[in-house]
């Protein structure tokens, strides 16, 4: 890939904040013993320490890194995130980060970007927009309902859609429907939008819709997958996804580690027919 990624650090940090930012999403801030740089799209493997330690760490996309503090967003979906939600400020967290291939930074040839973030898939795209966003980029977030949307994290440049049109705070707006519909209506408001780069992270239906939206228009599309992982650093082969061997049109495929070859993939490289229902469960358990 030619991407120079920062050194991965294995560190034990301390929770500085662990609180809901919406009805379903929590933000975890961890102060590490040293500052760790990351590229948007990279992730961390987190675990509790001592008696609460899980057999495997859990992968979380990095929302932000400010000095020695690294921030994450999560939803309680299983044993791991249940234990994470119980952590109080001051408690220890094991953190292996950063890991994985990021979303690339834009260059002069990169067309304006369309960001499609679904639920807990927000962090990598939020980080990318904060660091690399340019005028003309379009950022869209899809949530379950108004209460599920982490409004405090979304500046006015974010467009928001919800499945259920309830609990929208005063002064904020949300489209009722799919986030891809919202993006298309924004893009086509003034006619042909011209070429775009689509970048998506979220549940599998969103990723498929994003890939299809891009493919139909011959636009490039990058998706960040959220596979369950064992190790997160490329040794266990427990998080593989099917990728085409030679790009579109080739019938061959192989397994790629989503931890080291991803989590960001070119949507055209993924074998969507083999990408089964067990994939991309929408966040770490």
């Amino acid at each position: 890939m030619g991407l120079l990624t920062p050194t991965t650090w294995d560190l034990t940090g301390r929770v500085t904040a662990n609180a809901p930012v919406s009805s379903g999403l929590l933000r975890l801030d961890v102060e590490l013993p040293r500052s760790v740089t990351f590229e948007p799209g990279q992730f961390a493997m987190l675990n509790l320490t001592g008696a609460g330690q899980l057999v495997f760490r859990r992968p979380f996309s990095i929302l932000a890194s400010d000095g020695r503090t690294m921030s994450f967003l999560y939803r309680v979906v299983g044993r791991g995130t249940e234990r994470l939600a119980d952590l109080e400020p001051g408690e220890a967290v094991d953190c292996l980060a950063p890991l994985g291939k990021p979303f690339a930074a834009p260059d002069a040839a990169t067309p304006p970007v369309v960001i499609l973030a679904g639920g807990v898939g927000l962090p990598p795209l939020h980080a990318w927009l904060s660091r690399h966003g340019r005028p003309g980029d379009l950022a869209c977030f899809g949530g379950r309902d108004g209460g599920d949307v982490p409004w405090s994290l979304l500046s006015d440049e974010w467009r928001v859609s919800v499945d259920r049109d309830v609990d929208i705070p005063a002064g904020r707006q949300a489209h009722h429907g799919l986030v891809t519909e919202l993006a298309l209506s924004e893009l086509e408001r003034d006619g042909d939008p011209g070429p775009r780069l689509v970048m998506a992270c979220g549940p599998t239906p969103l990723l498929r819709a994003a890939a299809m939206l891009a493919r139909d228009r011959d636009w490039p599309c990058l998706v960040s997958l959220e596979e369950h992982m064992g190790c997160g650093y490329g040794v266990c082969k427990g998080c593989v996804v099917p990728v085409r061997l030679d790009g579109p049109g080739d019938s061959g495929w192989r397994n790629a580690n989503s931890c080291t070859e991803g989590p960001v993939f070119d949507a055209a490289d993924l074998d969507w027919e083999r990408f089964g229902a067990h994939h991309a469960t929408g966040g770490a358990a």
């Binding site: 991965t8 013993p33 057999v55 040794v235 266990c236 397994n255 089964g276 994939h279």
Partner: protein, 307 residues
Amino acid sequence: MKHPHWWTLDVEAPFTIGPRELPGRVWTASGCFAYGLTGHDIAAQDIDSPYAGIGAVVTKTVTPQPRPGNPMPRLVEMPVGAINSIGLENVGFEAFIAETLPALAELAVPTVVSLAATRPEEFGSMVAELHAAGRDMPTWHGVELNLSCPNVAEGGHDFGSSPETVAACVAAARSHLPDRALIAKLTPNVARVAPLAAAAAEAGCDAIAAINTVVGLDVDLKTGRPVLPRRFGGFSGAGIRPIALAKVDEIVREVGIPVVGIGGIDTAEDALKFFALGCVAIQVGTAQMRDPFAAARIVQDLRRAES
């Protein structure tokens, strides 16, 4: 960690398994550390490197042909371990020799190559080719025969459960491996493991590695079906440690061949239990998936115990 009065071993002193010396007695187990960390740079503040003090890296198992592995999901986390059904996904022996082995030669740590096959003659021909390719590689220590992976469909966990088959595989490999170590990794999924170890010893292996994973299954209550598409997989981690200790003890006491202990070793204390039973070395498996420094940290803790 407190230093037990009986503990005198230096796990970082050279010792011999087979015809050659190794620099240490704590290794990483097959399938849990790939082929080492090629292309990775992982750092920690409390320890130099994931290889610090490690005696050997046992590679992910290589098979005669490439294998795509099993369908997902492949891992089920349990409270005290995990059930895996990776299915020996690997690039195949030809690509391993051409691409992976030269990369392994760059590692500072000795390599033990794990091989699996379905017939003794396949073991023989792979070992012969490996010997030709690795003869001039000073860090290639030897071969570990994976006679026991429970999640390969052809053969399955019955493959390594007959003493005759174990003996045939070991003999086939031994005949092509005159000057490197030959280790037979045995299944725990038998009533008694000592007859397998005795057969392997008789056929000429230098040591026994025990144990491989224990056959396990979990059920998804939402669907009422097994979580893994192939129903069962290999259970590993802390939950199998008592099984591993019992099987190791059986081999050590009844066969008297050097034993490399494996099974749920998370900490230096766990490692000491295997050494206490007479293991000459130990391997760290599932813990290495959680922590790239797991084996190195066990060495560090055992070193502290000696001071």
